[in-house]
Subunit: 452 residues, 2 copies
């Protein structure tokens, strides 16, 4: 009999709203983490603990819904947790996105936000976990991501014998010194309170072991790594919908001979600016691709109220203008969250350009090769977690090296068909064989092994 499971993440699998008639309606939770774990919702031995996001979530939080427990945080605490600590601070630390000479600058309000926001919300999550453990003392608890680094420690204090695991979906950086003591220690002790802490790659796992040694002197916990993946059956079904096929038809009619595609959230970690620069350098250096190759960038707007994101959007627009001035018609930017168009772009690329500065895994590098219909080539950053498993079939780039990226794009565009096919088939076969179900199985097995 599988052990009951308590899944804990900031966003839940569903979120509630009211329709015009005032009736409660259920919507799917957003984000990659929820997509990956959604299947767990169908298991009747799983309880999912998540933050109440909407007013209707807060109403639902007070009721009892099988399989889900929404935590209604104090609004000020949640705001500090989310809008001061988790996204503008921890995300940047985890992806090494600061000029340390001037950022971050931690003032009193940061310390207040840590204490009254991040700690407080993590404590509320821990209390919800403890309440669920009182219902199911044998359940395993599975925390997710950077929102919940402290919760495992709070649960461990209350329930020393609980079985706790954590999966970190981001990179684990090598340097944590931007976070002052004792907060740095708190983060590491929080994660070390788990029986097992999981990462996508051996690289992030090694980095975690090292930073635990630096922060608390030792790393006495089980640290494992399994790269997350996608559900190929679901993706292939999605790609056959009328909406996607219509988008494919449109793209097929408007495309030039060679299509370079990128699909990303408009996040500074995704290296979009250097990507445009590299494409411009490619066309400068290789007149033979002018008019024959186009870069289609599908960029989902994200976190637009964070000043760094607004500045990055402007830098993207500048970079696009520069390339367009030199090479009119060479780039097409679609700033919208339109999943069917992204899937259509996957089918049509000759080159999939995935060049993040740092990325926990990067699912685009798995989604694209599964759906591509042209034996397209994956150009992949060595700092994307997915590179660790996909290296044999990709053209590797360094995210800082614009010249190297331009050369890689040329190599990918020029590759002969048999080599492209060999690589494309290798990628698709790898993704099919190492699918989401396999990742989930491996993660749950780690939890079980940690107890044994």
């Amino acid at each position: 009999v599988p052990r009951p499971l308590i899944v804990v993440s900031n966003r839940g699998p569903v979120t509630y709203d009211r329709d015009d008639a005032g009736r409660r309606v259920e919507r799917r939770g957003a984000g990659g983490l929820v997509t990956a774990l959604r299947g767990l919702r169908d298991r009747d031995d799983v309880v999912w603990i998540a933050s109440a996001m909407t007013d209707e979530d807060r109403a639902a939080a007070a009721e009892s819904t099988p399989g889900i427990r929404l935590v209604a945080h104090e609004p000020r605490a949640y705001d500090l947790f989310y809008n001061t600590v988790a996204n503008p601070f921890l995300w940047f630390l985890l992806h090494s996105l600061w000029d340390r000479a001037v950022a971050p600058e931690l003032d009193e309000s940061f310390h207040v936000a840590w204490r009254d926001g991040y700690e407080e919300v993590n404590r509320a999550f821990a209390e919800a976990v403890v309440a669920e453990l009182d219902n199911e003392p044998e359940a395993a608890v599975w925390f997710h991501d950077y929102h919940l680094f402290l919760a495992p420690g709070f649960v461990r204090q209350a329930r020393p014998d609980a079985l706790l695991g954590h999966f970190v979906h981001t990179p684990w950086p090598t340097d944590w010194s931007a976070l002052p003591e004792p907060l740095r220690r708190q983060v590491h002790e929080g994660l070390l309170a788990n029986d097992v802490t999981g990462f996508h790659t051996a690289r992030w796992a090694a980095s975690f072991r090292r930073s635990c040694v630096d922060a608390v002197g030792a790393c006495e916990t089980r640290v494992t790594h399994h790269p997350i993946s996608i559900d190929p059956t679901e993706f292939e079904a999605l790609s056959r919908t009328a909406e996607v096929r219509a988008a494919v038809g449109e793209l097929a009619r408007s495309r030039p001979e060679k299509l370079v595609v990128r699909v990303d959230r408009a996040d500074p970690s995704k290296n979009i600016v250097r990507g445009f620069h590299a494409f411009g350098v490619l066309l400068d250096a290789h007149p033979e691709w002018r008019g024959r190759a186009q870069l289609v960038a599908r960029l989902d707007p994200t976190r637009e109220r964070i000043p760094e994101y607004a500045a990055y959007r402007e830098a993207i627009e500048r970079a696009v203008r520069e390339v367009e001035e030199r090479h009119p018609g060479s780039v097409r930017v679609e700033l919208s969250d339109d999943f069917p168009r992204s899937l259509a772009a996957y089918t049509q690329y000759d080159v999939l350009f995935v060049n993040p500065v740092f990325d926990g895994l990067n699912l685009v590098a798995k989604e694209g090769p599964l759906l591509n219909e042209r034996a397209g080539v994956l150009v992949l950053s060595e700092n994307a977690g997915a590179h660790e498993e996909l290296a044999p079939w990709v053209v590797t780039i360094n995210p800082n090296d614009v010249e190297g990226q331009a050369r890689a794009l040329h190599e990918a565009l020029s590759m002969d068909e048999s080599e492209r096919r060999r690589r494309a088939e290798g990628l698709a076969a790898h993704v099919r064989a190492n699918d989401l179900a396999r990742w989930l199985e491996a993660e749950l097995a780690d939890l079980e092994a940690a107890r044994a």
Copy 2:
């Protein structure tokens, strides 16, 4: 009999010029590294290899001067080496000074500068070393700093049995991924060609061992750490000169009750901007110090043609204006290279404020306590190498934490005299006991041990 020694560094112990009468004159080489190693010049079994910097150096390079061999690099190669690779790139990488989302952006000219500049100059140094080894085959070769990461590898190829050591005066960062393959591998292989590689601290040494594993799979060399220091006798003699005493008198007459002093090159790694912010926060939060405490910042202009340095100078000026607007007369900035005034400030501080973002060691943290006459308190960044040895006697700060720095300044200003005295005496005694001669002895012993 001590083994003959070949010291190799970019800057040499002397540089030549011509006076108005056209006669060659000798000046002392600039910079902390040269100051630290200057004593070696008096040993007649030491040859120092350095770059020819002036026209007269280039003339001298063609002649034979006992104890010194100047290498006259091709001017374009030296310019690329120094002004594209060493200072605007390697220094920034070594001190983690980039917003990786947008910098560095490595274009074709960077790759050219690496090959035709950094490699070329390192090769020229290696040839000079090999020529000296032909004179003295038993000599030990001692390379210095980030200018010469590749030279040991080139020497090793030509002289497999040579005894090679390297001392890295900067921090060793935990992440080298901003430098693309194969250049990253080249740097690590270059250093691993040494029999022994030395750092100031256990932290940088551990970081080097880790990054070698990341870059080339193993760290098969001797890695040691000894923090550099100063010559107390020389410093105390300097502090008694008429020039310094005059500056002390002037400062003593103009000072308020409490003096907070910082002495730094105006380098982004030194965290000068956050330092002013922190002092402003101190005065905002503690009205009792207004009018009673002043921050004197002695800043040496440096590398002003590098755009990041110009921007940083502007950020410093903005920060000073902001504090002065809120608290007129509270800060005094002296932008000049005036060593006697710095020594005078050392004697007079109540708080020495040393808050670097990252610093290989930071000699100010040793010079100040040796000369201070007021039982002043050292407020020291945990990211300064000197923190590893001085921690028992300092108020520790995190360089990003402006609120924490303001609190530390308050703590230091408020500390009672017996505690101040205990700490100040501890610092001065440590510096006296762990002086420059002791560092040099330990380093040379490491070289000898590496051979044995």
